[in-house]
Subunit: 197 residues, 4 copies
DNA sequence: GATGAATGAGTGTTCATTCAT
DNA sequence: CATGAATGAACACTCATTCAT
C-alpha cells in the first residue's frame, strides 16, 4: 500500500513536470491562443482528461505555470544577493542575473512575456508575485531614503529599471540585437543614469 | 448619379468606421484571443459576412486597424513638430504629445499594446510603421552625432526613451498610478537622464 | 434606339459567351462543388449579380451550359452523316467523330462527364438531350431490324457502343492511356464485336 | 475489466457502423456536394464533433467509406472463385456476382459510383484498390496469353468488360431498365463477344 | 441591363470540458 | 489516478441570392 502511494507520488511529479515543460514549450512555439488543452496534453504525453486531475481548468494550468516561473526568476536574481554592497552594485548584479536567466531559460522568460499580455494576466494575484521580488524592491526604497535614487513614484522607477530589460530581450528575440556583455553593461548605465539622483 | 455616389461613400465609411471602433472596443474589453469575427460584427451592428466585404480576413481586419492607429499616433506626436528646437525640447514635446494621445484615445493606444503582443504582430511590415516615426527617430540620431545623446545601440536608446511610456500607461490602466503633468515631467527627466551624454 | 438595342444584344452575347467559357473552365479546374457563383462571375469578368440577369439561378446556369455542350456534341458526331453507308461504317464514323470532339474540346467533354455525376444531372430533360442523338440511335434500331445488330434491350447496346468511350477518355485524362488512331480503331472493333449479330 | 473492454468496443463499432451507413445513405440521397459533415452526423445520430474522433477530417471519412466498400465488392465478386474453370466461365461468374452485389447493396455500389466522379476520387491510392481485384485481372491477362482474349491495351479490355456494368446499373437506377437474369446473361454475351478473340 | 454591397444560412473544424469506466 | 470517447458551443469563413441604385 505504501509502495503504491510512493509510486503514485513519483508519477505525479513526473507528469506535473512534463505538463509544465509542455505548456511552456507549446506556448513559445505556437503562441497562447493556439495552445489548446489537448495539444498541451499530447505534448506532455498524457490524456487531456488527466490535466483536470492536476489543475482545475486550463486557466489554472496557465496561471500556475506563470507563477512557477516568476518564482524561479525571483530566486535567480536574488542568488548571492549581498545587501551590504553599494546600491548601484546590488542593482547591477540583479540586472546581470536577470539577463543571465533570460539567456539560460529563454523559453521560461518568453512564456512570462506572452502571459503578461494574455487575458489570463488579470487572474494573477499580483501581490503574490511581488513577494518574490521583495529584496530588490526594498533596495530601491532604501536608495530613495539615502538620497541616492530619485524620489519619484515607484512605477516610474521600475519603468526605467526593469521594463527596458523586457524591451531589450524582445529586440533580441527579433534577432537584430545581440545581448552581449558590452550591450548589457551599456544598458545598465542608462538605467542607473535614469534613476540615480 | 452624384448623389448616389455620395451615398455609397458615406454608407461605406460609416460601416468601416463602425468596424474600426467595434474592433478596438472589443479587443480592449475582452482581449485579442476572445475577439471573434462574429462578436466584432455584432458590436459593429453588421453581419459577420459583411466584414469580408471590407477585409480579406480576420487577420487583415486586425492588422489594418493596428496600422491605422499607428499612423494616427505618428501624426499626433509630430504635430507642431519644430526641428529647430534643442533636442531635449523636441523629445519632451514628443513625450508630452504621446501622453496626450494616450489620455485622449486610451482605447486606441491599448489596442496597439495588445496587438504588439499578439500572434498577429509578426504579420506587420515593420518598415511601414517606422516610417510614421521617422522625424523623431532622426532627432535621436542627430543627438548622437552632436554628442548630446549616448552613442549606444539604437535599441537601447528606444528601450529607455519610448518603452517606459508603455510601462507607465499600463500602470495607469491598472489604476494605481496617475498620469498627471507632474508625473509625466518627472518621468521624462528620467528618460532624458538615461540617454543624454 | 435601334442601335442601342443592337449594342445591348451584342453585349448580351459577349457576356453570355464569357459566362459559358468561364463556367466550363472553372468546373474543369476546381470541380463542380467548388465552383461558386462568384468565382464563375469573376472568371467571366462580370458581377455575380449579373449572372442572375441571364440565368434564373446557379442551377439554371449549370444545366444550360450542359445542354449547350450536348447540343454541340450531337452536331459534331453527325457532321457529314451519310445514312446510305453500311451500318458498321456509319457507327465507326460516329465513333471517330466522337473521339475527334473529345480531342478538340476536352474541356467541354469533361464538363459533361462531371455534370453527369453531379446532383444537377437529374434536373435535365433527358428527352431533349436524346433528340440531339436521334440519327445515330435510329441507325442502331435499323441494324436490329436488319438482323445485323443483336436484338437486346437498347440500354445494353448503348452500354457497349457509347459508354466505353467515356471510360477510355477518362483513362486518357489519367494519363496512362494514349488515344491514338490505333487504339481508337482497336476499341471500335471491340464495340462492334459486342453488338453485331 | 473484460466487460468494460467489450462495452467500449461494441459502442465504438456501433457508432462507426452508424457513421458508415449514414454516409452512404446521405450521399445517395442528396449527393456528394450537399452531404455536409453536420448532416452526416445528424443522420448517424451523433454530434458533428464525434466524427473527428473516428476520422481525421471529412475527406478521411469519405475516402475510408469508399475503400471499405471497394474491399467488400472485391471480396464479393471473388467468392467461390474457381481458377480452374474456363476463362469465359470465370468471367461470367464474376459478372453475375457483381450484379448480385449491386442488387443486394445498391446503396454501397451507388456510393462508389458517385465517389469515382467526386473531387475526392484523386485522393485514393489506386494501387490499394486494384489489389482487391487482382484475381480477376490476372485471369484477363491469362486469357490474352492463351490467345482467348484480344491482345489490346488493358484499358480497352476493362472498358468493355467492367464499365458497361456501371452503365447498366445506372440505367436500372433510372428505373427504365430491369436487371433480371435474362438481361444480365444477354449483356455478358456482348461483353464476352467484345473481348474474345 | 448591370452591379457593389449586404446577408442569413451554412461550411468544415477545433475547443475546453465532462464522464463512464 | 488515469483516460478515451463524447459533445455543445464556438470558430473563421463561404455560399447563393437579393436589392437599392
Amino acid at each position: 500500500m505504501f509502495v503504491y502511494f510512493r509510486n503514485m507520488r513519483i508519477k505525479d511529479e513526473i507528469k506535473q513536470d512534463a505538463l509544465f515543460e509542455a505548456t511552456v514549450k507549446l506556448v513559445n512555439e505556437i503562441g497562447f491562443a493556439s495552445s489548446s488543452v489537448s495539444k498541451i496534453a499530447k505534448q506532455a504525453g498524457i490524456s487531456p482528461a488527466t490535466i483536470y486531475v492536476y489543475f482545475k481548468n486550463k486557466e489554472d494550468l496557465l496561471v500556475s505555470t506563470y507563477i512557477e516561473i516568476k518564482k524561479n526568476i525571483g530566486r535567480a536574481i536574488h542568488e548571492d544577493f549581498d545587501d551590504s554592497l553599494p546600491i548601484r552594485d546590488i542593482l547591477k548584479n540583479v540586472w546581470i542575473k536577470m539577463f543571465d536567466y533570460i539567456a539560460r531559460y529563454p523559453n521560461y522568460f518568453q512564456y512570462t512575456e506572452q502571459f503578461s499580455n494574455s487575458p489570463y494576466q488579470s487572474l494573477v494575484d499580483k501581490q503574490e508575485i511581488e513577494r518574490y521580488f521583495d529584496p530588490v524592491i526594498t533596495v530601491l526604497y532604501r536608495g530613495i531614503e539615502q538620497r541616492i535614487i530619485k524620489n519619484v513614484d515607484f512605477h516610474i522607477l521600475t519603468a526605467f529599471m526593469f521594463y527596458p530589460i523586457m524591451a531589450l530581450s524582445n529586440a533580441r528575440v527579433c534577432m537584430d540585437f545581440e545581448l552581449n556583455d558590452e550591450n548589457i553593461e551599456a544598458a545598465f548605465t542608462l538605467a542607473w543614469d535614469a534613476i540615480k539622483l
